[in-house]
């Protein structure tokens, strides 16, 4: 529990509406997008400025009070799950776009800015913000930074980390640090590279410098219908082997197609496997490559092909894919979204294994995935009221185990959070996990910032034996002068 005088201090800092302590208010914050984990925090802080965030963290550090930063709470791995007795720092009020610098292709935002708002702000100039998670109309840049969010188009454009050049961060001791900057290759360690994707465990970003991308001359999207995921998978491999780098390659199996159809009536063909291929770039290039993609799909058994040219036609093709997760509610009372990655060549084999596992467990699994980079999103459908939850979790984790065995990863974009902590040991050896946590010890030796996430066992950050020997220049105080 938080002592009364600390609550009073926080209230004085944040105002009456800036600190929530009533049980019914707190319940709103007890989970993120992964709703089977719930913890009610002791308090929720709603700062309005970066300076207030810093003060809150300073108080937390002084009191050794654990805190969890939160954006829109759309995360799917329990990354924003509160700590019992700790506080949640909600960043939703830090929602200003601070600077738009078109000549330098930079935008500076606060962490509570919604992903899609960045694109909306720069669209009039012919630019967009590339990372596009399916939740982009609600998820925040701060959350994207924490998870290193991807999306359908990161096949070509890279992940959040590729587009974050710098961050102003409140470190867990309450000090301020500017990591990276507006220019490239700032001298020193690549701190943005390690901060992005650290799942809120290294501090809280209060300003983020983003890179924006010029909208390509042409964007075309192709939808192809196949009789099996094997055929569609072979078409994907052939497209990549032809030396192309599409902006996106997405696949949906029969079950996810049916769910999407029921939910948003995308008018998709009744196929066992659907492939969405998006190409963008100079018009002449896209036209030539799209003809190639079409030929490859036909050669691999596609029996219906649609190509969308206009923005409106493209939106129709994407509609079902973007709605796929939410659509599962139409065909199942409950479902688990997973996020495994495999080398693309293992796709047909893993899909068959998933099918076998699904049959054995007596639970349906729908597959929607970023086929171009091997990022699977198996959706395990179950009914909690029939007591199927544990079986569903076991099945989901078995799928992840197969991904790791195939040389892949337990998470491509959703993060480890609370959900997959124990699975880190399947993917990494003990020395790997211990070494990673050296970073945590440098940033957060007291484990205050989103503690007990990501790693199965926290490393104690004791002073290691040995002595740091300063450089002679440093001793003389010379290096400090620069």
């Amino acid at each position: 529990m938080i002592q009364q005088h600390v609550l009073a201090e926080l209230r004085a800092l944040l105002g009456e509406d800036g600190l929530l302590t009533e049980p019914e208010q707190l319940r709103t914050y007890d989970a993120d997008g992964l709703t089977n984990f719930r913890v009610v925090p002791a308090a929720v802080a709603l700062p309005r400025t970066g300076a207030q965030v810093q003060r809150v963290v300073q108080i937390c550090h002084r009191e050794r009070l654990p805190f969890v930063a939160r954006g829109s709470g759309t995360g799917l791995s329990g990354g924003a799950l509160p700590v019992e007795g700790g506080i949640v720092i909600s960043l939703s009020r830090l929602n200003r776009i601070l600077e738009i610098d078109i000549p330098n292709q930079r935008v500076v935002v606060e962490p509570g800015v919604i992903n899609l708002q960045v694109t909306q702000a720069v669209a009039p100039y012919g630019y967009f913000y590339a990372p596009d998670p399916s939740s982009q109309s609600v998820c925040t840049i701060g959350g994207n930074v924490a998870e290193n969010a991807g999306g359908a188009h990161c096949l070509k454009y890279g992940f959040t980390v590729t587009h974050v050049l710098g961050l102003t961060v409140v470190l867990p001791d309450g000090s301020l640090a500017h990591l990276g900057g507006k220019t490239l290759d700032t001298p020193g360690y690549d701190l943005p590279g390690v901060f992005v994707g650290s799942e809120g465990t290294l501090g809280i970003a209060i300003e983020v410098i983003l890179r924006i991308v010029k909208r390509p001359e042409t964007i075309q999207t192709l939808l192809a219908a196949f009789n099996s995921t094997d055929e569609a998978g072979a078409a994907v491999s052939a497209i990549i082997a032809a030396g192309m780098l599409p902006a996106a390659i997405e696949m949906m199996d029969r079950l996810s197609r049916d769910a999407a159809e029921a939910a948003v009536h995308a008018n998709y063909p009744e196929a066992e496997a659907l492939l969405l291929v998006e190409l963008d770039g100079p018009a002449a290039e896209v036209a030539l490559l799209m003809a190639q993609v079409r030929a490859i799909c036909e050669a691999h058994g596609a029996w219906e092909i649609r190509v969308a040219q206009s923005e409106a036609e493209r939106a129709v093709l994407w509609k079902g894919r973007k709605a796929a997760f939410a659509a599962m509610g139409r065909i199942s009372p409950d479902y688990i979204v997973q996020d495994g990655v495999i080398p693309r060549t293992a796709l047909p084999r893993i899909l068959r294994e998933i099918e076998a596992l699904s049959a054995r467990a007596g639970l349906r699994v729908a597959n929607v995935f970023h086929a171009g980079d091997g990022n699977l999103h198996p959706l395990v459908l179950y009914d909690r009221s029939k007591g199927e939850e544990q079986r569903a979790e076991e099945l989901a984790f078995e799928i992840l185990r197969r991904c790791v065995e195939a040389g892949g990863s337990i998470t491509g974009e959703h993060g480890v959070g609370r959900e997959k902590q124990k699975f880190m040991s399947v993917m990494f050896a003990e020395p790997d996990l211990e070494t990673m946590q050296l970073v945590r010890c440098a940033f957060d030796p007291h484990h205050l910032s989103n503690p007990d996430k990501v790693f199965p066992r926290p490393r104690l950050c004791a002073e290691k034996p040995g002595r740091y020997e300063p450089h002679p220049l440093e001793r003389a105080g010379v290096a400090e002068l620069f």
């Binding site: 507006k182 290759d185 590279g193 880190m424 002595r467 002679p472």
Partner: protein, 424 residues
């Protein structure tokens, strides 16, 4: 009489074999510091064991690949061992169908590219001296080239790493798939860390296809301001150049080089588009140029003396920086050549009538680059001058944090002590 040195030699020989440890010669000196031994481990485990022995004995270690960039950074505060990666030179796996490759740190970049080219692929990077530079070396120094425009830097290409720490730990992070967010990204932390946190033993990269065709066009411009306008116009267009650089010097007018890759017919239409952009600005028409223009960065090193520095500014700030450069050069009688990439990174070669003028010029140019958040990092500078000019420059408010990172990974400052920012 058995000296400590002999004991050390025996211990190292027991670890890696007597054939792979030898007393250092003057050719092994790093910025004037002569080590005692050169050790060439034959496996990741041997790298870790050598580090552990050195760490326990309080010895200082410098990792070395091809040695092409060993003079980058401050001189080492102390040096006992060179850890040579020369025997770790294998391409361990080229998963061409998945477009990834895992390679040992001592593999030369050119060798790796030859292996990848057998399946029409490449590490999409044009580093300095690929024939000499090793994978570990380019990672440690974060060296990238003009292709960064389109394919990103090493941080965007590296998927995973195996690293040996001073205490003998071997640790992996990342993986072999393009998309992976499990755990902290040590491969990015190690990239550009100048070997101060651990020794990179192997790395996995995402690959790109070799282009079906590529063509380069050059445009001569009357003034740096016009060159700047052209660069920004290209950046703001729907053209997709794989490289875009600006070359100019004391003796030559600005030239902008543009490289397109892809399908021949598509390159033709991009070339037409480039002509239209040039015409709208009143610039001369682009002319087809030789691929050699992309070796301009490397050519800077042929200057017999002076400094070579890396400049980082905003893409729109090149003209401003060049104006400052011209003023400083005139005042101090400097001669210079600049090879700048549109995205805001450049290499600048400076020659001065004397050391004082060179140091004064560097300080003024650092201030000029820093005006809007940029930086100047000296890559080549006479060792004697490094005592008077910190090659890295200021690192803002993160120095304490960076020292804590060093303290966690290398508490006894075994690896490259004093070479990195702030005396790390």
């Amino acid at each position: 009489m058995v000296t400590q040195q002999d004991t050390l030699y025996a211990e190292l020989a027991a670890l890696v074999g007597a054939a792979h440890v030898r007393p250092a010669t003057p050719a092994d000196a790093v910025e004037g510091r002569l080590p005692r031994y050169v050790v060439a481990p034959g496996s990741a485990q041997e790298v870790a064991q050598v580090l552990r022995v050195a760490n326990q004995a309080g010895l200082r270690v410098a990792p070395r690949g091809g040695g092409s960039k060993l003079d980058w950074g401050q001189p080492p505060a102390a040096l006992d061992l060179i850890l040579a990666t020369e025997r770790l030179d294998a391409v361990l796996e080229h998963a061409w169908a998945d477009m990834t490759a895992t390679v040992q740190a001592g593999c030369r970049v050119a060798t790796l590219q030859q292996v990848l080219a057998q399946h029409g692929q490449r590490l999409a990077l044009d580093t300095l001296w690929p024939e000499r530079a090793t994978v570990g070396g380019i990672l440690a120094t974060n060296d990238s080239g003009a292709l960064r425009m389109r394919f990103g830097a090493l941080r965007d290409l590296i998927l995973g790493v195996l690293v040996a720490l001073p205490d003998g730990t071997l640790a992996r992070s990342g993986g072999k798939v393009v998309k992976n967010v499990a755990g902290y990204d040590l491969q990015k932390l190690m990239t550009g860390a100048l070997g101060t946190l651990g020794v990179i033993v192997e790395a996995t990269f995402r690959l790109y296809p070799l282009p079906a065709a590529q063509r380069t066009f050059s445009l001569e411009l009357s003034t740096p301001a016009l060159a700047q306008r052209l660069l920004l116009a290209i950046l703001d267009s729907t053209l997709v150049p794989s490289s875009l650089q600006l070359r100019l010097s004391t003796a030559s007018a600005p030239v902008v080089d543009v490289r397109f890759e892809g399908i021949a017919a598509a390159i033709d239409s991009q070339a037409d588009h480039l002509r239209r952009i040039a015409a709208e600005l009143g610039a001369s028409a682009p002319v087809e140029a030789d691929e050699q223009v992309w070796l301009a960065r490397e050519a800077l090193w042929q200057a017999p003396e002076g400094a070579i520095v890396k400049i980082s500014v905003l893409p729109a700030d090149w003209a401003t920086f060049v104006a400052a450069l011209e003023r400083v050069a005139q005042r101090l009688r400097l001669r210079w050549t600049l090879v700048a990439q549109a995205l805001g990174l450049g290499m600048l070669q400076l020659s001065a009538p004397n050391d004082e003028a060179l140091l004064a010029g560097l300080s003024l140019l650092r201030a000029a680059a820093g005006q809007r958040g940029g930086a100047l990092v000296a890559l080549r500078l006479p060792t004697a001058l490094k005592a008077r000019f910190d090659v890295w420059g200021p690192v803002g408010d993160t120095l304490a944090l960076q020292r804590r990172i060093k303290q966690q990974f290398d508490p006894r400052a075994t690896l490259n002590p004093g070479r990195f920012v702030g005396g790390i």
